[in-house]
Structures are given as C-alpha cells and as structure tokens.
Symmetry: C2
Subunit: 179 residues, 2 copies
DNA sequence: CCTACCGATCGGTAGG
DNA sequence: CCTACCGATCGGTAGG
C-alpha cells in the first residue's frame, strides 16, 4: 500500500473533468479512482477548485514538452505543437480545457483564471514560434485561428466519434502557414 | 397569474443548459426562473432529460427559419445560415448544443441522441444548400468544416469574450465557398 | 399547480 | 489516512 502521489490524483481528476465537466465530476468519484477515502483528498488539495489549475498546467506542460518544439526550424516546431494537440484531442475525444471553459462560472474564479491562462499560454507559445516567419500580429491571429479549428473539431469527435474533421483541421492549419 | 407556457419553460431551460451545462442546470433553478414550483414542471415534462430535445429542436427551428434561407440563390441562403449561427453564438457567448455535446453521457441516451440529431441536421441542411454549387461529398465536408470553425470560435467568446475569432471564422467560411 | 416529502449525493470538516 | 458526520441540494413523487 504505497502512498498515492499527487500527480496520480491530478491525472485522474483530468479524466473526470474531461468526461463529466467541473460540476459533474465529484470528489467521491475521484477518491474511488485513486483508491483513497474522499476526506483524504483534502490533505493534498484544499478544495475541488484547486484541482483545476493543477490539471491544466500538467496538460500544458505535456503538450509543450514535445521534443521537436525546441527545433530551430520554426515549421518543424509548429507542426510538432499542432500534432501534439490534435493527437491528444483525438485520443480522448474531448478537450479538458474546453469542457472547463464552458463549465466553470463566476463562483469559481480561481478555476476560471486557470482556464484563461491555459488557453492564453497556448496562444502565446504558438505565436512565439510563428513570429520567426511572420509579423507578430499575423502570427497571433494565425495561432488563435489554429486553436479555434482544432478545438472546434472536438465537436465531431465528441458527438459522432468522427476523426476526419480533426485530420482536415490539422492539414488546413499547417497549409495556412506554408504558403 | 396566467399559465406559464411550455415554450417559456423551454426558453429558460436553454439559457440554463447553455450557461451551466446539463448537470449544472437544476430543475429548481428552472422553476424559479419561470415562476413555478419545481413539482409543477413535471406536469409538462416527464423528467429533466426530456427538456434537451425540446431545447435543441427549438434552437434548430430558430436558426433555419431565417427568411433568406428560402432564396433561390444558394450563396444568399448559405450566407444567411452562417450568419444566423454566428450571430446567435456571439450574442450568447456559448453554444447550447456544444455544451450539451460535452455534458451528456451514456446515462442520458435520449439527450445524447437529441444532440446528435441537432448537429446532424445542421450538417444536412447546410449540405443541401451547397449541393447546388458543388458535388455532394465536397458539400458535406465544406458544411462540416464550417460548423467546426464557428463552434470552435465560441472558445474565444467563452474564455476571453473576444468576438474577433468568430468574425474571422465567418469570413473564412464564406470565402471558402466563393472561389 | 401546490405543499410536503423521499433517498441519494454533493463539497467539505471534526477528530483521531 | 481513516470513520463519521455536517448542511445543502439534487431529481423526482405522493397526494390533494
């Protein structure tokens, strides 16, 4: 009976938030998943809301720890990010960030701010890569629209289990920066 | 004290589902909104799940009752649909269908099927318009990708209250069928 | 269309 | 890290 790590809890919390959203995910479900009693979760996290920043910063780190992102060639780096995002979305059929974006309200300001940070970080880091090849304002718009298409394609994954829209989104987003 | 119409209840239920999702919206909130006791809602609807098909079919009807959709010119009709969808999303910052797509699970099969119908109807009706100008398979893909972009842009509306991504999505989606 | 209620579950805490 | 509990709220029903 080895101690349950904080990371394990965050990973399972992410699965719950992704699948059921913020309100639909319960601390009892999470406790069952990690094999603890519910009360014991409160030793590591002050409350449910505090799980949200942890879940999102873990996810951000995963996405941007792709090896090719350090490539000197901007296109190689950009393609790596886009494919990392798309692969993770296709794997899980939903975006935990998007589910939380729709699901957290003004009653959970810390969670709300974490969601903003999550997507703003995506935009900033993608913009930084594209800035090597185009002016800052164009890079920023291009990054934002890429995110919009990738996230939008999760609708088809969630509703119809159809990955084709995501594949087309990846192709279109990459083609947009190649011309 | 005139009777509360079924439509009024459905309209308020839509607002709740859009804002809080399926699990986050409570029958008590809905009762308060329409000025009834909670038990009285069950005279018109057998349960909470039954509200979902009503909410979505009302929304579908609103979108496709735009006058210009009957235009003989396919482009005029398509533009009317795209703008009707975008205007409604920009107005409310979220898509009730998307929130329900992420939020309903296998425990609510009727709601889940209603969500599928909702988006499949969008695809079918947009495809029907585009078929006047291109082969069926291209029309279907074009319609799906248009939906993906418009729905994806709700992320920026929900998180940053930024309408610019939606405006660019509308322009891009219309430009895609003009060339 | 109401009052009054049901069992189940929610997030969170006391106390060890 | 646990047992045991808190008040609040959930969807839904009985009975009038």
């Amino acid at each position: 009976m080895t101690k349950v790590s904080k990371e394990k809890i965050v990973l399972e919390a992410r699965e719950l938030f992704r699948e059921k959203g913020y309100v639909g995910a319960s601390m009892q479900d999470l406790a069952d998943k990690v094999g603890l009693r519910k009360a014991s979760l409160y030793m590591r996290f002050p409350n449910k809301e505090a799980l949200v920043p942890e879940v999102l910063s873990l996810t951000l780190d995963e996405t941007f720890s792709q090896p090719d992102i350090e490539a000197s060639d901007w296109y190689t780096a950009y393609e790596a990010v886009v494919r990392a995002i798309a692969d993770s979305l296709m794997d899980r059929k939903r975006c935990v960030g998007f589910h939380l974006a729709y699901g957290v309200g003004d009653d959970t300001p810390i969670a709300k701010e974490a969601v903003r940070d999550f997507f703003q970080s995506h935009r900033d880091r993608m913009t930084a890569i594209l800035e090597k090849a185009m002016p800052r304002d164009i890079a920023s718009i291009t990054a934002t629209d890429a995110l919009v298409r990738l996230e939008g394609a999760t609708l088809l994954l969630a509703v119809f289990d159809d990955p084709e829209a995501m594949e087309r989104a990846v192709d279109a987003v990459l083609a947009a920066v190649r011309q």
